[in-house]
């Protein structure tokens, strides 16, 4: 027996669903064993309307899943398929045609070591993942090669999820203080670009330090951080 918000351990049986009838959606950390549901990860048992359950755990390893957007490092930009490291157990492949405006003649300008922001079009446990930088209309919508001068670092997956949560005000507060561009990808990689290296480092530190921060404490936290940054520079 465990309630919503409780800490569960692998092997714990979960049987107190809010609705006793209807479909139940089990997210990461929960598995079905016959007609029983058991936890397979240690973490916090979470629930969302109407009938969605999952376990939020501390995790750094990325397991690819379809339609998630990731930041990858191009490791082999030769041939028709680029090899991209997205932080998973295996490298993903990215066709040179899956860029905006790319044709067989017009090859995108991608070199080894470039960063790409892409979406997983095929994710499978047993086969190589495939990436794409365009949506079904052929538009990039912000995906593609990332410009020079940015900074990428790895954070735990739950922090990347937190940054993308609509209620999380951290990036909004930082964005009020300084001009910047940020990507929080689902594979736990965060990419920042701002006006100066000094600011970029400060923002990166602020994001890393906000891992266990509550939403209501974020305003003071960001104020302190930015005060130190600007007082130090003057």
């Amino acid at each position: 027996m465990c309630d919503i918000g409780d800490i569960v351990l692998p092997g714990d049986k979960i049987d107190n669903f809010v609705q006793s009838k209807g479909k139940v959606l089990l997210g990461p950390g929960l598995q079905r064993d016959g007609e029983e549901v058991i936890a397979v990860r240690p973490g916090i048992f979470k629930y969302r309307e109407p009938n969605i359950y999952w376990i939020e755990s501390h995790q750094k390893r990325y397991v690819p899943s379809k339609d998630e957007d990731v930041i990858g490092v191009v490791t082999n930009a030769k041939g028709e398929l680029f090899k991209v490291d997205i932080g998973s157990s295996e490298q993903a492949s990215l066709s040179y045609l899956n860029f905006e405006g790319a044709t067989k003649r017009n090859r995108p300008d991608v070199k080894n070591g470039d960063l790409v922001y892409a979406k997983l079009s095929i994710a499978d446990k047993h086969a190589e993942c495939e990436l794409t930088c365009v949506d079904r209309d052929g538009k990039s919508k912000g995906k593609g090669c990332l410009p020079d001068g940015g900074f990428m670092f790895q954070v735990p997956l739950h922090l990347a999820h937190k940054l993308r949560h609509p209620d999380c005000p951290l990036l909004k507060y930082i964005g009020k203080e300084t001009a910047m561009e940020v990507i929080a990808a689902m594979n736990g990689r965060v990419w920042i670009k701002s006006r100066s290296a000094r600011e970029t480092i400060a923002i990166a530190n602020a994001i890393s330090a906000a891992e266990f921060l509550n939403y209501d404490k974020m305003k003071d936290f960001v104020d302190n951080f930015m005060n130190e940054l600007y007082l130090g520079s003057s």
Partner: protein, 144 residues
Amino acid sequence: MKRTADEENSDDDNSKALIDDEHWVLDLPDLLERNSRYVIKDSMLSCDVLSSYGRMSFKGFNPEIERLRNESETQEVEEQYDSEDVEFAESMTSLSSNLKKKFEKTRRRKKKEETVSNENSDNNTNSPQVVKKKKKKKFLKPKE
């Protein structure tokens, strides 16, 4: 590129075992899947409320990204309002008046339009334009 688009349309339901070039699955009857009330999703995107788009720009650092973000947000708002009954009813009333016009007899409709345009010409200052519109078109001999 077309193939991937088709795939996206077709396999919305991940729980089904699909067999195609990329996904090979043993073609056995799914004893466990049958009649189960549990649906397994391995992506956090389908569980927690996360914005499906992770790229953000602040204070005009990258105007293109901010434009994309605003567009997607307004689209979401529009989608919410589109389904509202009031708006649907309003759009239907205008449509019904248009259709009513179509089924009215032509002479009566003409009369009605005349009266309306007369009223308009009384009110508006640009009456000559209205009169001009009403003039019957005649065949014009081409000039040589």
